[in-house]
Point group: C2
Chain length 484, copies 2
């Protein structure tokens, strides 16, 4: 796409929309050029930090009318380059739109501006009888960013992902209008669900400015249990059995010893146990202690056939439980500290097929010659698989990681999985999308994109290439697959 380059006239017009000149940054620093992985950098020409819907409306409309790329940005905790201004243009930094708009326990809802961070939502609700249940590990992510990738997190087994906890969105479309998608009401059978179309659309269809969340009664009782297994593979095999045993855990996470070693090394901390090669981390939330104990007992009994060791049971508010959760939430950063560059494959497969993926990861480590640590939301089949550059050259890393990524996507596709469970496709994976989901399918998405964003200014080059380029010119390895 040919885009218009921001000039003095544009700056003048755009400044007139933003009440405070300090929120229009014409010489952006590297703060705005990357995401969590920092592997691709792209500097915006201009950063705008709106504080009202009206400011967003005017800026988005101007960008669309004048063919200027505009990329909404939360707190940049993403991994797939969703927030990168790869075509230049405007970085629409939402982080100052961080106000609580309404806390309404009688309708079990809470409405906030899209830039509010999860950690601030959690703090606000800490002394209230309600919780916002989705629990992405990156607490400093913005809720708008969570909506844009339909973030999952650590409690999806029982409570589902972000999208299932969103009642209503206010969204600015390229016509400059503010739309209300969804309602404070719980249910709708009233035409196409545009709310669900926006959720997970990575800012390519509109800019989410307000989010009305569903509040859930905070569980009275919670318990965590860490179950060690002598081998790496047994715990993961126990997961479908646990889920079929009649209990409904909140959390079922899988971690291997190797990744815990990394955490101990790079965080200089000590894990709770030093035996066991694989671990399941379980959490239950209930109304009574009796129910907690009964569910836990059933789950533990189920794991016995997979050679589990006795569980370490932890009161949810104990220091030990906090250590376990901190470890789990630090894992990504621990891996990141262990290698100069890294990339991730975030496939989600049917829960019974996680072992197949892990077997393939083992093979690829040897075949390709790359360290590929991983940890997994085992209860929902979502794997986080990391590709470490270690001491490779950039060229070698690019070639090898392209191969690993493609092979893992082949595996996921064969198992009826998705390319991404919760981190999105973004810029990093857009060239694989059409190959994975097919040309007809991708063309449907292209047409929907066109309905919302006729001038293709909203977050360009994300999810799928706008042009029908089934040739995938950048990826030799994928090309070979497509050709063969």
């Amino acid at each position: 796409m040919e885009y218009h380059k921001i000039n003095q006239e544009d700056l003048k017009a755009l400044s007139s929309y933003i009440a405070d000149p300090a929120r229009l940054i014409t010489n952006p620093t590297t703060h705005w050029d990357h995401d969590q992985f920092k592997t691709v950098r792209a500097m915006p020409d201009l950063v705008i930090q709106p504080v009202t819907n009206e400011e967003v409306q005017k800026v988005v409309k101007y960008a669309s009318d004048h063919n200027i790329p505009i990329v909404p940005r939360g707190n940049s905790t993403g991994l797939m380059g969703v927030n990168l201004t790869v075509e230049g243009g405007i970085s629409l930094d939402m982080i100052k739109m961080n106000k609580l708009l309404e806390y309404d326990p009688t309708s079990l809802t809470m409405t906030v501006q899209a830039g509010m961070r999860l950690i601030d939502i959690e703090k606000f609700l800490a002394n209230k009888p309600f919780s916002y249940m989705p629990a992405p590990a990156m607490h400093w992510a913005s809720i708008g960013g969570n909506v844009d990738t339909d973030a999952g997190g650590l409690k999806a087994v029982r409570y589902g992902v972000t999208g299932e906890h969103i009642r209503q969105l206010k969204v600015v479309l390229t016509d400059g209008n503010l739309y209300k998608f969804g309602a404070k009401a719980v249910k709708s059978s009233s035409g196409y669900s545009l709310k669900d179309l926006i959720i997970g659309s990575e800012g390519t269809l509109g800019v989410v400015t307000e989010v009305t969340m569903w509040l859930y009664p905070t569980p009275r009782k919670s318990i965590n249990a860490l179950i060690p297994f002598p081998t790496l593979n047994d715990p993961i095999k126990s997961v479908p059995a646990i889920l079929a045993s009649g209990v409904v855990p909140t959390t079922v996470e899988f971690m291997g010893r190797k990744i815990i070693d990394l955490w101990e090394k790079y965080y200089n901390e000590k894990f709770l146990v030093d035996t066991g090669d694989g671990f399941i981390l379980l959490r239950f939330d209930t109304f009574t202690d009796g129910e907690l104990q009964a569910e836990l007992k059933q789950a533990v009994a189920t794991t016995k056939q997979f050679k589990s060791a006795p569980p370490i049971v932890l009161d949810a508010n104990s220091e030990e439980a906090k250590t376990i959760w901190k470890c789990r939430e630090d894992l990504l950063l621990a891996i990141q500290k262990s290698t100069p560059k890294m990339d991730e494959v975030d496939i989600c497969v049917p829960i019974n097929h996680i072992p197949d993926v892990l077997d393939r990861v083992d093979e690829l480590e040897k075949e390709i010659g790359m360290r590929i640590p991983n940890f997994d939301h085992a209860g929902d089949g979502n794997l986080h698989i990391y590709l470490c550059s270690d001491n490779m050259s950039d060229e070698e890393y690019k070639e090898k990681s392209d191969k690993v990524i493609t092979e893992l996507y082949k595996t996921a596709k064969a198992l009826d999985g998705n390319m991404s469970g919760e981190h999105g496709i973004g810029y990093a994976r857009k060239d694989w999308f059409e190959w994975y989901y097919g040309e007809d399918y991708t063309n449907l998405l292209r047409k929907i994109k066109k309905v919302f964003d006729p001038n293709s200014v909203l977050n360009p080059d994300k999810i799928f290439p706008l042009q029908d380029n089934s040739k995938l010119t950048n990826l030799t390895y994928v090309n070979e697959l497509v050709m063969s």
Copy 2:
């Protein structure tokens, strides 16, 4: 729209796609001309009963290529005329596509053809450790029809609606291709969720042929409780308090004495209690008896401040519990037996605003002079409000019911509710849609419709008028509102 009328040449072509001539019905009977309400009748020119995806693909493509209306049809339990061939053409009767394709407990999924009825799904799962949780009262509805209206039902408070239990759909689009939307995997952050766009789209975007459902461990313990209150309004006021008390009921239904009287009269049955003017029906599902009792105790204690009488607690498998549920599921048909004609308003409002709607219903009964019985999914704010013709002339009924419908939509809109919680917009309410949701919003839906159905052959005249007709020429009463 001007459509092509099916001729001998079309019949010849269409018969060539359908293996058994008995499944192509050229002289349809009244079996195919109505839905549950039977208030609007529209005879299809042709009924086709496909049994394979390929048959659906060929017929849909032919219809699209030749500008012939085609209307998917389940088991006609709908109330809003979603299945009516109002422009003639083909009624695509899916009821013979009723096969179980896969039961896969290791991935917690089950895949069936779209014409399979809920009751057959329930029967198949009866002796299995898993359940399909959504519980629409019409057990003989097809799962495809449930998907098309995102059916809610009696367990939505805890488990959510149909859409939240659907992993994957196979959908035939007008290009004749079979698409897979979603996956057997639990989570996706992989581009726009076309699965969620199809759910609730009433067959206007594509024809759902296969449905992969999420299976949930069947709760070990269940209990029902009927709580009587001396007045009609107190029980409904207790609902937000129950939901805020920390318990998570599966079911929170509201019924008034008047509607129970109707059921007793027309079903010649006896309700469990003969005192009390309003009732809450609660259900809890848990792993242990202790949890059941504790949650129930908490809920009952919460209702005391609203003057509740002692609850009638029923084992979920008792005869009494079956009677209560039969009563609840019969209510619609009981009202239908009490009046020559009826219509329904299915608005869903934030749960704390149900009393406001019921107050407005009371006023309207007096103001307009119409019997307006109702019962409500109180736990999710979805009201089922019935407009009875009784001894009115057709003209009087039309005029009065248009007024009541419009006034209740005004009420719902002001309370941030939706036009329909679970029954859809269909043919019956399409003329109100644009007035309720606005022109810009409706135009977005029109453009999405165009992406999927460029020739507008799929279920025409449903949800919203295809043409931008904000004038709403058929509805004098709404016109006055729009003008004023």
